[in-house]
Subunit: 305 residues, 2 copies
């Protein structure tokens, strides 16, 4: 269970952030925090943490996210001066855990049904990891901005860095911060695969007949490798993606052309009318004819705002 | 009712964004959008809009936010080529309208009760306004990134700019975008007043006896001017702010020192014990003694994560 998958909306929400400096011999407290995620990031030194079944040794640039309601504690005293930041955040939404990064990288194109209701997505955060060297300065800048309470075990004193940032700015900082944490996972998947090439091909050729076997032949990969790569990058198979793409274009044509239902199907590469209607209904919930009628009425023939 | 005040959490959530180019003689549709805010921004030309009781003429760099469920329409045809962007967003939370900017600029310091639950705040967005010249490039960059569907009245064609941004990145763009819109309102209030100076003074001198009349004398303003300025900037009076500040420091001292309750009161400038206890209870809900006991137990004597 290496990834924490937050269902959005709502977006995760920042509660408070701070810093703590440990002396050699100090140890992280044993505790359980209700309803709150606790992210710990190490600037320098090494922090030893345990949250069943994890036992981690966090060095500079590494982080760990403790899930709510789970006991955790230091597993070993610090061997040297160790400087850390922490961020408490929460979500009102559901979350789940998974072994693999849950990719949700496809921003849906704007089909009419998406104009008026939010597109849910999964934000998959690594439970622990190393922030790439190149991103640390940026990440630490956001941590600095969210640093509302600092504690030093040397002086046993708390300080409250006076913040001139407004509540909304700090939420903004937090979202940016998560973005920095999340981006490498998100993109490494896309880069290391042929998924992007494949997606561009589908975007350009969805009006034609396309089969998975043809794609496999064209790119000299096995069908299963294509499916795996595409799924890793985008969270869907190439054919699932193609289906969505076609239906989205079809829905546009239904509203912005007078083409017959059957022609619309043809124009998006779904040549068999009954199949087109079935797929459309699967995706959108109503038939193409109902869709045209419903949206044309509601929006006076155009959904352009 | 010039401001739209969103209760956060949750943060407002992006649905879809796009662009529309109007020809001379074109007019914005008459429509009502359910549950969705519709923000319109003009890049060039002029768009004429009406949403009872507003009638606006939007020029380059100006925007208008249409609230959900309210009929609106173009009030006049475009006189020249007019290029616009629009953003649909929504919130699951409540919102209200007000004539004045609702300032909520104080980021609470991290008192223990704030470690584990979100701090609600109000995000006050101007319903209409002009984006300062200096911010337009930045704002338009975010609009560009959120542009998922473009429509031109010249060609009567929709296009779907292929986005390589993930759903989370686009939410991030949207929050940044709102920040750019919101920041000038937020800060102009603070800058044009002596509020900041006053706040710094309170932060430094809260351990001393402070009265509003003394402050007024010291800064050569009337007490009511001080209250008004401070309230405009931070949404609270100076004495309300001072009270919060003192109680937050007191709560820290209760947990991290062995000082008697009475001494704690003295250390934060509340010298009369019964008054200290009353104020503490007002703010935190329990007495200082209960507080010390309760949090000391729960967090093993320390709430440092």
């Amino acid at each position: 269970m290496n990834f924490i998958n937050l269902n959005c909306p709502p977006l995760p929400y920042f509660i408070v952030g701070g810093g703590c400096v440990y002396r050699p011999g100090d140890i992280h407290e044993r505790r359980t925090i209700r309803n709150v995620f606790d992210l710990i990031y190490v600037h320098s030194g090494t922090l030893y943490l345990e949250q069943d079944p994890f036992r981690v040794e966090l060095n500079a640039g590494q982080f760990f996210i403790i899930t709510p309601d789970t006991p955790h504690r230091g597993s070993r005293v610090c061997q040297e001066k160790t400087t850390t930041s922490w961020v408490h955040f929460y979500t009102n939404g559901k979350y789940s855990l998974s072994d693999e990064f849950y990719p949700d990288n496809i921003t849906r194109r704007a089909a009419p049904k998406f104009y008026y209701s939010p597109q849910n997505f999964i934000l998959s955060l690594p439970r622990t990891g190393t922030v790439p060297e190149a991103n640390r300065e940026k990440l630490e800048k956001y941590l600095q901005r969210m640093n509302l309470v600092s504690f030093s075990k040397y002086t046993q004193k708390k300080s409250f860095p006076s913040s001139v940032r407004t509540p909304f700015e700090i939420q903004n900082d937090f979202i940016e911060f998560l973005q920095v944490l999340y981006a490498p996972y998100c993109y490494s998947r896309e880069k290391e695969s042929i998924a992007r090439t494949l997606r561009d091909y589908l975007d350009a050729h969805y009006t034609e007949e396309i089969s998975l076997n043809d794609l496999a032949r064209q790119y000299s990969y096995s069908p299963s490798h294509l499916i795996r790569s595409f799924h890793q990058a985008y969270g869907a198979s190439p054919m699932q993606y193609l289906k969505k793409l076609r239906i989205e274009h079809a829905s546009q044509l239904l509203l912005h052309s007078d083409a017959a239902i059957q022609s619309v199907g043809e124009m998006v590469g779904l040549r068999i009318p009954s199949y087109f209607i079935r797929v459309f209904k699967q995706e959108i919930g109503i038939t193409p004819a109902q869709y045209r009628m419903f949206y044309a009425e509601e929006n006076g023939g155009s959904e352009t705002p």
